[in-house]
């Protein structure tokens, strides 16, 4: 009848949206409309809250007034108890959106004398439903009747009649019940409410409690069958249907900087993919948080919101420590781009951590998230649980295109390529930070163990923490192995000296050549001068010789002329001259 509320039309079952975060996803649209739903669980598992939130959200969001019939708490107590969750029960009652009826049954005050029925309850319920025009009803906890009245035969037949009556009324009802020993409910209410049964669980494992919710049955509808963790926080109930996500998130081709230029260089020159998961693992003190801080800093510089979950240090401590290596994150915190969330891993169960991360990511909508460190969370659960949780987290981050950087502390120096958590296969980029021990020093090394979908360097780089952040340097690979730290520095010095010597040698050779050339040229000049001097001398001699010759000739001609005995040729010759 309310098609718009029905998320899964193929089931054909009208559903009633609860408005409770996550629950509508698991139930694929909500609770069966017009039918009763049984919510069972142990004491303190959140039954009352679930029932009440169902009514409050119905009244506020779906405009469906509700009736809350309490068998255990008075309206005042109820209003007080949920006021911290931001539910204004009194206001809703005043606006006729909610009717609360407290049914008080005290066996000591009651004497049973013969036959009776529970018509009074029906009348009260009908009157409450009519008074607000209720579409939703919650009965919390109906089983209290068994405590107050002894004739179980009557009670059972009356309860059967009640559920029938609720169906006939067309109200969507939640009936809460205490969980029994080995049965869903202590009094076997599941016999009567067979349309939908939700089981709440509050389990303590290793002293850590986790709330879980499971749809035991949902007649006529498909539903998520897993146990889903849920949270009760200042906004009420939230269930996390994380594993229902399919592996179909889109993969971005946008690359974002890791905040360390040399690391970007190693990752094909561009850095991480947006929306990818990055794992920085390493032993204690290998600089994981610093890598994370660089990443956060770079993201904030791009104007993106960042969430920094720290499970070991307080935000202040992280800020201080990062300042010491020249990364000041305080301005980002101040302008709201960066949000820290610090929690002890043992504060609550893994699922709760997951839920918190989920919730904050949902609210803050960051583009980058850092979890530092993840393996610490193992103390809040078993490793397999942690792995399952991280898988869901990675899935969720990817689906929301959030780039996530996880740091992980590896205990075993020899077995670095195996994270304790065993989640490496989930990661797109894995940076391994390791300590390199040589010549009495411990130095940090970084290499990219894997990086999906991009060319990446196969080199180990030395990783140094300077007062202006992380620097990556080439390490020296020589016959003595990888050189780092002062060995690298010595090598560098040696190389520098060698280079200088080389240069000097060349210079000297060049100078020698020059000198030789000078000498040669001087020699050439000298020879030339010698030659010229000689040539001049020779010319002089030649000139004198010529002069002498001419004189001789002239003298001969004069002689001939004076003799007059010259042949015809000779005077002509002389005449020509």
């Amino acid at each position: 009848m309310k098609a718009k509320n029905n998320k899964t039309p193929r089931t054909g079952l009208a559903k009633c949206r609860t408005g409770i975060r996550g629950l509508d996803e698991i139930t694929e649209g909500g609770l069966p409309r017009g039918r009763p739903t049984l919510v069972c669980g142990n004491a303190g598992s959140g039954k009352t809250l679930l029932a009440l939130e169902f009514l409050v959200r119905g009244a506020l969001e779906q405009d469906e007034p509700g009736v809350f019939m309490a068998f255990e708490e008075t309206p005042q107590e109820l209003a007080q108890n949920v006021a911290t969750l931001g539910f204004d029960v009194k206001g809703l009652i005043a606006r006729n959106k909610l009717a609360v009826d407290y049914v008080h049954i005290e066996r000591a005050e009651i004497e049973e004398t013969g036959e009776y029925d529970l018509e009074g309850l029906f009348i009260r319920l009908a009157s409450a439903i009519d008074s607000v025009g209720a579409k939703r009803v919650a009965l919390d906890t109906l089983e209290a009747l068994f405590g107050g009245l002894s004739n179980t035969l009557v009670l059972r037949s009356e309860l059967r009649r009640l559920f029938r009556w609720l169906k006939d009324k067309g109200v969507t009802a939640i009936i809460t019940a205490e969980r029994g020993d080995g049965t869903l409910t202590r009094r076997g209410l599941e016999e009567y409410v067979s349309d939908c049964v939700i089981l709440l669980d509050h389990r303590v494992n290793d002293q850590i409690a986790t709330r879980r919710l499971r749809i035991v049955k949902y007649r006529g509808s498909t539903h998520g069958t897993n146990e889903y963790p849920f949270l009760i926080d200042e906004q009420g109930f939230s269930v996390l249907p994380i594993t229902s996500l399919e592996l179909k998130h889109s993969a971005s081709t946008v690359r974002i900087s890791s905040g360390i230029p040399q690391l970007d260089e190693m990752l094909g020159g561009k850095g991480y993919y947006r929306g990818s998961s990055v794992l920085a693992s390493g032993t204690a003190g290998s600089g994981k948080t610093s890598v994370a801080a660089h990443f956060v800093d770079a993201a904030c510089r791009r104007g993106e919101r960042c969430l920094f979950f720290t499970f070991e240090e307080s935000p202040n401590q992280v800020l201080r420590n990062m300042r010491s290596i020249g990364i000041d994150l305080q301005p980002w915190v101040d302008n709201g781009l960066l949000q820290f969330h610090a929690a002890r891993p043992t504060l609550h169960g893994l699922e709760n951590h997951l839920a918190v991360v989920h919730k904050l990511v949902n609210e803050f909508e960051p583009r980058a998230v850092v979890l530092d460190p993840i393996n610490n969370l193992a103390s809040a659960g078993t490793l397999s649980e942690l792995k399952a949780m991280l898988m869901r987290l990675v899935d969720y981050m990817k689906a929301s295109q959030v780039t996530a950087l996880f740091t992980s502390l590896t205990q075993d120096q020899d077995n670095l390529e195996q994270t304790d958590v065993g989640i490496s296969s989930l990661m797109d980029t894995w940076l391994l930070l390791r300590n390199l021990e040589s010549s009495g020093e411990r130095n940090r090394g970084l290499y990219v163990l894997k990086s999906r979908g991009m060319p990446h360097s196969n080199q180990i780089r030395e990783f140094t923490l300077t007062d202006h952040g992380v620097e990556l340097r080439d390490v020296y690979l020589g016959s003595a192995g990888v050189l780092t730290g002062s060995a690298r520095a010595a090598q560098e010095m040696r190389e520098r000296a060698e280079a200088v010597a080389q240069q000097q040698e060349t210079e000297r050779k060049r100078y020698g050549l020059e000198r030789k050339r000078h000498a040669l040229e001087a020699k050439i000049a000298m020879l030339r001068a010698e030659f010229e001097a000689e040539a001049e001398e020779m010319n002089e001699v030649i000139a004198q010789d010529e002069l002498r010759q001419r004189r001789q000739l002239n003298g001969r001609a004069d002689m001939a002329r004076s003799r007059g005995t010259i042949s015809g040729i000779k005077p002509r010759k002389g005449g020509r001259k």
Binding site: H104, I110, D117, G120, S127, L145
Partner: protein, 127 residues
Amino acid sequence: MNTTKRTKAAAKRTRAAAKSAKPRPSSRKPQAEPGSEVWNLRLYVAGQTPKSLAAFDNLKKLCQERLEGRYRIEVVDLLVNPKLARDDQIVAIPTLVRKLPPPIRKIIGDLSNTERVLVGLQLRSRD
């Protein structure tokens, strides 16, 4: 002691009485003796079901036997006044409430078990 048979017969007989008692808030049996307590009893019913009628019948009989002249029975039909069910914390029908003397006592059922009614009304100790 009333048996179920007798109760049913009585129910028929007193139907008229119950009917006349119903529309008015109370059906008085005055004549309070000075010095003794006045018992203020209220019987909650939902319409004229056999159980309700039996209860009224049984109650009247018992009062006449035990509280001659110092009781007052008020019959409340919750079908007419549903709000009263909430105000007086009524769940089962029929319910007999001893308003006075204090403390308030509740007796549910058709009052066919006289012994228990007497215990419930705390009349047993008085005998």
